[in-house]
């Protein structure tokens, strides 16, 4: 066991899997020599050589397109997109090829690739550096999407992602890259993709969230507990395909549902979760299922971004409204 933060866990896990499986190759902008702008790939080029960990020219479309070809031809590419806001040049590859290769070839060609990128905001970064892409990716059939909220989960989920035979987007909440450390076992372990985790049990209301917000929601839940409101908090962990059973079961128990996410409200991931709750647990509901989300605006520049992102107080207020409905 070693104490690790989220970014050092990503580094450790890539190292672990590169040592175990020589098909794993790691690349992207600034990934090789520098070891990534967040230092997620530090030391890997030195250890495994420039054939297995390398810098690419600046072009996200080529990074993802190349990963497609590599995956078809026997490698297990782990590509880095430097920030989620710079994924868009690769969107054509992602929608037109990454997502559909298995289906188009009726399973003849599959894409065991991982695309890692920092996710979300709240770190006073520059324009375009705070995007949440759950909907933009989650709407496309054939993609798996994972968002860890702790170092421990990050290792188990990233190992699952690399070993998965389908393309997996591994979204790393940049706000918690270095926010805290946790014991992470040296040994091999995986956490299944598609399984949510109940991080706090409660009876009053089901609150689903993921990524950095897990920690803010937990703070809110503690505030509410002091008022006698006992929230159940679920860390969704996988956005696609998400754990429908865990949500439905919890809502049947609590009768109330809140989803909390950074992405904008309209057509955001919360809408999908609420639709599920309406479809599968409608008769159990005692209050309208509710979304606490970003506004339907472009994420402000850093001086104003705190208005966009939710803090524990705002989350607690939103949950309180649902409980007191």
């Amino acid at each position: 066991m070693a104490l690790m933060n989220l970014v050092s866990t990503v580094n450790h896990t890539l190292d672990h899997e590169m040592a175990r499986d020589e098909r794993v190759v790691v690349f992207g902008e600034d990934v090789g020599v520098e070891g990534g702008v967040f230092r997620a790939t530090v030391g890997l080029q030195k250890k495994y050589g420039p054939d297995r960990c390398f810098d690419t020219p600046l072009a996200e479309g080529a990074i993802v397109g190349m990963a497609v070809g590599m995956a078809i031809n026997g490698l297990r590419p782990v590509a880095e997109i430097q920030f989620s806001g710079f994924m868009y040049p690769a969107y054509n590859q992602i929608v037109s090829h990454v997502a559909r290769m298995r289906n188009r070839t009726r399973g003849r060609l599959t894409l065991p690739l991982v695309i890692r990128m920092p996710h979300g905001g709240g770190i006073k970064a520059l324009e375009h550096h705070s995007e949440s892409l759950e909907s933009i990716l989650g709407h496309i059939p054939g993609l798996k999407i994972v968002v860890p909220s702790t170092p421990y989960d990050a290792k188990g989920l990233l190992l699952s992602a690399i070993r998965d035979d389908d393309p997996v987007f591994f979204l790393e909440p940049s706000k918690i890259y270095r926010a805290f450390r946790q014991e992470v076992p040296e040994e091999d372990y995986t956490i299944p993709i598609g399984k949510a985790k109940i991080v706090r049990e409660g009876e009053a209301v089901t609150v689903v969230t993921w990524g950095a917000y897990v920690h803010d929601v937990m703070k809110a839940a503690e505030q509410l507990a002091a008022e006698g409101i006992d929230a159940e908090v679920i860390d969704l962990r996988t956005i696609a395909p998400f754990d429908r059973a865990a949500i439905v079961e919890s809502v049947k128990k609590t009768g109330r549902f809140v989803v909390v996410h950074e992405a904008m409200k309209t057509f955001g991931p919360g809408a999908e979760l609420i639709a599920l709750v309406n479809e599968k647990a409608f008769l159990y509901l005692e209050a309208p299922p509710t979304r606490l989300t970003g506004f339907d605006i472009t994420i402000p520049l850093p001086r104003g971004e705190h208005h966009y992102f939710l803090d524990a107080d705002r989350i607690a207020a939103g949950i309180r409204d649902v409980v007191n409905f």
Binding site: E127, L301, Y308
Partner: protein, 361 residues
Amino acid sequence: MLTKRFDPLKGEMLQIMDAEGRIVAPELKPDLSDERVLELYKVMLLTRAADTKALQLQRQGRMLTYAPNTGQEAAQVGSAAVLRETDWLVPAFRELGAWLVKGVSLEHIYLYWYGNEWGSHFPENVRMLPISIPIASQLNHALGLAMASKLKGEDDVTIGYVGDGGTSIGDFSEALNFAGVFSAPVVFFIQNNQYAISVKRAVQTKASTLAQKAVAAGIPGIQVDGNDLFAVYAAVEEAVNRARAGEGPTLIEAYTYRLGAHTTSDDPTKYREDDEVLVWQARDPIKRTKEYLIAQGLWSAEQDEAQVAEYEAYALEVFRKVEETGEPQLEDFFKYTYRDMPEHLKEQYQEYVQYLEGKVK
């Protein structure tokens, strides 16, 4: 024609003033009055002073992430100096000297890096687009602005900026190709500062110059010493004149160096040697232009010192003003999403205002 005389495929690079400020190609020296050269030099000094202050303020926690220009002032100032007021300037994000020449106030620039959207709201007469962070995407806008000028029968020219890293992405090739096909009045200006964050120029392309990327697009391309104010000016002047005369686009590669960090979040000691930086410090565009001016009797070391001090004080004063007035207004985040605020946004805004008021109570 310079583009005929300096062939990027043969590794020929235009230089008019060497690293010591000596004129090595007098016949190519652009026709600039002494006053104009001094004026441009002063913008270079202001650019550097603005950088120096911004970096200091960032370390004090008063400025947010900032992308410095140090070492690239000649490329920036020399290129924009050719433009007239009605020409368009399309920035990437590291051309402070060019923006100042184009008439953008330092207050706007600081406000942007301070993290306030109003920093991109330039006055009506300033024909410059906002900073573009998604690399190279802006070059197609430059193309479009130029096409509009052409289709409207106006002889305005557009200059679009990009870095060496930006030449690897599709938008760059697409913009060059379109510009060639449509003979658009546009100049594509690459600041090759040798790095895209940590990635060295040699990793971006196997091609020995970036200027030669013009060849496949069928347009003229030229590599110039980007730390030589006169070479930059001369190449851009020729390109702008050609564009204005309806003779189409040009690609210019300014060969320069990023003396500072990529941004304030970057630590260049992780990926480059001090020796390399020293070599380029000796080629500093400000040092070189200053030496030229002093040799011409147009300037002195004392004047220089005083001017730098004055500009640093000015930059600080501008920043103080930004600090005082730069807090964004909540309503603005909602107000500028559409011309008219839709009902659902009004609702989101009002609910949030109510929440904030409730909190104060």
